[in-house]
């Protein structure tokens, strides 16, 4: 007789755990035993350079942010114990929303407790049963989950293919004006960017609403760090920007900003916003400080681009197959540098060797990777030194080519 729990033994994650246990490695849930700095830690007993933490600007140990969080903890307590709609809106949540709106030069902002709830919640709410959602096929899980909750007709277009998007919008006829198109600034697995200029150009023809997830591009792309839309000078075409505080801002939380006045009505229709406790005072306080650093310390972005270029070019010189190179944005680079490997077992064993030799990266296998291949996914930080980036390159050379 089949039981309720039998299916969990054959799910990809369970199969993967078995496979990695057989190989004696633990890429899922490796334990950080001691965090030393934004770029160093002891992971599963190994002292490593952190090259897979999405800590793009290295702000997790920013002293001013830590002090602000400590003060908030002392003065406002450990948690709000309530939803934003009930008792969980403190003056600081409102202040952060005003600061996020000002930073993005938008009229309205909503702050969420996590990036997942922001992206999932907004995707689930903007379009309803009579509407259409057209999403990039490589969208994040939070978008896939959100659109399923929306009740809208969900269509996906080929990854970063504006001509496929154009074709599918044409097929919709008049319904294209009731369509939400969703793309991401930087795609998290391969580090490639959306062809946002071409996507935005289709708005005139079809009249859809455009939502961009800038989770991996806020603080990273654009002269002021407003993401890919700023870098490509198409901010006016983007109706809703969503993202997270857990990458370039070094805390946890999410946001949606927009010039649409309806956002205030939308706020109280977003279930992941209503039915969850609001961010803790300490998180809000550190995020507010980090936002100021992100905005004003342009040298962090420049260091990030230099480090990303050093890693990408170093890997390329070693002959590795990599995610696409970002072109057309001057010195700007994607901080995500993924080495693509066809042999899954070789990838798994290499991940373990990298760890043992002092480099932590993310191990990505299907279905998390956007193809049948595996990835050794690196993410660069502004806080990495030139020497650390070189050590990452040398260690990869040793492990993959040695």
């Amino acid at each position: 007789m089949t039981t309720l729990l039998d299916k969990f033994h054959s799910l990809p994650a369970a199969v993967f755990r078995e496979e990695t246990a057989r190989l004696g490695i633990r890429p899922l849930g490796a334990v950080t035993e001691q965090i030393i700095s934004p770029t160093e830690a002891i992971v599963d007993g190994h002292r490593v350079i952190l090259a897979g933490t999405n800590n793009y600007l290295g702000l997790t140990f920013e002293q001013e942010a830590i002090k602000a969080a400590q003060d908030a903890l002392n003065n406002q307590g450990t948690g709000t114990t309530g939803s934003r709609m009930a008792n969980g809106t403190f003056a600081e949540h409102v202040a952060l929303e005003e600061e996020m709106a000002a930073f993005f030069r938008r009229k309205h902002a909503i702050v969420f407790s996590t990036g997942f709830s922001a992206t999932c919640g907004v995707s689930a709410t903007l379009a309803g049963p009579e509407d259409v959602i057209m999403m990039d096929s490589d969208s994040h899980a939070s978008i896939y989950d959100g659109v399923r909750l929306s009740g809208a007709e969900i269509l996906r277009f080929r990854h970063s293919d504006p001509s496929d998007l154009d074709k599918r919008l044409r097929r919709l006829g008049d319904r294209s004006s009731r369509t939400l198109v969703i793309v991401e600034g930087i795609y998290s697995m391969l580090g490639d960017i959306s062809p946002l200029k071409e996507v935005a150009a289709l708005k005139e023809k079809y009249g859809f609403c455009l939502m961009v997830d800038e989770a991996h591009s806020m603080g990273v792309l654009g002269t002021h760090g407003r993401g890919l839309a700023e870098a490509m000078d198409v901010e006016d075409a983007v109706d809703f920007v969503v993202g997270t505080f857990s990458k370039s801002l070094g805390s946890i939380g999410g946001y949606c900003v927009s010039n649409c006045d309806e956002l205030e009505a939308i706020r109280f229709s977003i279930r992941p916003y209503i039915f969850t406790a609001s961010s803790t005072p300490a998180m809000i306080a550190s995020t507010r400080v980090a936002l100021r650093h992100l905005e004003h310390r342009t040298e962090l972005r420049e260091a990030l681009w230099r480090n990303a270029a050093q890693l990408y070019d170093g890997f390329e010189a070693l002959g590795f197959r990599l995610g696409p190179r970002i072109d057309g944005l001057g010195d700007q680079r994607s901080p995500v540098v993924a080495v693509v490997l066809e042999d899954r077992e070789f990838a798994l064993k290499s991940w373990q060797k990298l760890l043992e030799k002092g480099v932590y990266v993310n191990m990505v296998v299907p279905p998390a990777s956007p193809s049948t291949f595996s990835l050794l996914r690196c993410s660069v930080s502004a806080a990495h030194s030139t020497e650390q980036i070189q050590k990452i390159i040398d260690t990869f050379d040793d492990v993959l080519n040695g």
Binding site: S137, V147, E153, I154, L155, R156, R158, K167, R168, R171, P366, P367, S371, T372
Partner: protein, 80 residues
């Protein structure tokens, strides 16, 4: 407009190469269990059908497509 039989014939033709190593393919063949297709393979087949018939398969209906027959029915519905 395509009849169900036309849709079935075309789906069988398109799936043929993808499933060639898994024995005979018929209307009741399960795409995953019988034909050994991974979800990424199913998506590629669907994209090929979408291009050929100038249609878009909604993701909402994908969980209902388990067999060759399910796929042919969806195609018939979307082209009618």
């Amino acid at each position: 407009m395509s009849s169900y039989d036309d849709c079935l014939a075309r789906v069988l033709e398109i799936l043929g190469p993808a499933a060639k190593e898994r024995g005979p393919i018929g209307e009741s063949s399960d795409l995953v269990a019988d034909l050994g297709l991974a979800s990424i393979d199913v998506m590629e087949v669907i994209e090929q059908i979408e291009d050929e018939f100038d249609i878009s398969f909604p993701l909402n209906n994908l969980p209902d497509i388990r067999t060759v027959q399910d796929m042919a029915k969806q195609l018939e519905r979307l082209t009618s």
